[in-house]
Symmetry: C2
Subunit: 233 residues, 2 copies
DNA sequence: CCGGTAGTTTGCGCTGGCGCAAAGTCGGGT
DNA sequence: ACCCGACTTTGCGCCAGCGCAAACTACCGG
């Protein structure tokens, strides 16, 4: 259906639980979708109609508070399941998803969820695991926000991004999609200004290298030190 | 098995999805456990052997950071499913659970999870929903921590506790288990001292009434005002 | 009834990081 | 080639809330 390009299917490590044949059946129910960088995949409060697997690109998940404040919940990279609100008993998406690079995703209608999850138990297992990881991450973030200084939180955020999407360059490890200082601020509960100051200071000491919508980590080890103690380094 | 007291079974609203007969089968696989106030139900990092439903009492879930800081993840009240780490693909509990009042819980061995969840789809649905709610809560907390002042966070925490476990008294609504200023601090990422000061100020204006390990909310509406704007009231 | 411990309150000084302001700088579109 | 909007940097003053310190008080066990 929808003429799935077979080449898209090649790399889906997350679905290793499924046998080749089952995978093909599952994929035959999916629809491929493309999103240009900057476009919206779904909006907060919108009725949850689909669940997705991201095949290529990067998506930012943002939650907006009643008074207009924005917080970045997380970034989604290739192979990840997302938009599974309906499976978790919600009728609307709790956050907005925005493509930060050109994206390709597979989408299934939520109406198919009961049938598909019954037919492919490993889809269910995968969902449990995904949600478990997210819950863990969310709690980790609460702890960080509760106990750490801004400098440590920013360092942790960068390390997480590097680990998740880092691409080795001759300069160091680069975060593989455009990200602004403001974005980092919204991930860490700091202000744009403070983040900018921190990155400037780190650039001074050769730990990172900045650019317009770019961050390259030159010295991950030193960055870990910043992340770990509230002492001066 | 384990001679379940039938009276315990009476009130299990959370499991409404199950028919009476199925419920009995499910319960026949469970083991009843009692925990005295202050005792540990399970420890962080301990191998996850069981999952539970709390029948009576209150349990505090605490996560400890590598450097010894503690953060209260949440409180569990009657009817809630907990300790489901294994179902989410983990082998150890990510946090400790401590009874803050005398507790009665039903426990199932994790080994039974695949069988039970296959046999009773509504158990699985229930788990998805529970996890969905928790994920939602965790994200809400991240947002609060990111965007709110300490005063608002403490107000929100109290309102949540009151909503979850409030007991009407002639003085106002009382939180139904012993809770210290330190506990509130660990829920909100503030210090004991700041929390104490805030509660003193609120007691001054008649919004709450404090006591040793006790908090009574006399004026929830005013407390909501404190929770909502960073303006002076 | 009494001593000890766990919990609470309050004072004081300091500072991390925010709010506000303004001046760069990069890059994409016409 | 230029302009405009988006992104970034930096300076400065202020204050919420923390760290430290000390006193107070309610409960519990003996």
């Amino acid at each position: 259906m929808a003429g799935l390009d077979p080449s898209l299917i090649a790399g889906l490590p997350t679905f290793a639980g499924l046998e080749r044949k089952d995978l093909e059946i599952l994929l035959s129910h999916a629809q491929a979708m493309r999103f240009a960088a900057g476009s919206s995949v779904f909006e907060q409060e919108e009725e949850a109609r689909n669940f997705f697997v991201l095949l290529d690109g990067h998506i930012r998940v943002v939650r907006t508070t009643p008074d207009g404040q924005q917080v970045i919940v997380r970034y989604i990279s290739e192979g990840e399941l997302f938009g599974i609100a309906a499976a978790l008993g919600r009728t609307t998406y709790p956050a907005s998803a925005i493509a930060v690079a050109d994206c390709v995703a597979l989408a299934w209608s939520n109406a198919q969820w009961p049938e598909l999850s019954a037919r492919f138990p490993s889809l269910g297992a995968n969902t449990y695991k995904t949600v478990g990881n997210r819950l863990q991450d969310a709690h980790t973030r609460v702890i960080e926000m509760s106990t750490e200084q801004v400098e440590q939180r920013v360092a942790h955020a960068l390390l997480r991004l590097v680990k998740q999407t880092g691409r080795q360059t001759d300069d160091g490890i680069e975060i593989d999609f455009p990200i602004t200082r403001q974005d980092i601020a919204e991930m860490t509960g700091a202000t744009l200004h403070t983040v900018s100051r921190l990155l400037s200071a780190w650039e001074e000491s050769g730990i990172v290298k900045g650019g317009r919508k770019r961050v390259v980590v030159r010295n991950p080890h030193q960055l870990m030190l910043k992340a770990e103690s509230r002492n001066k380094n």
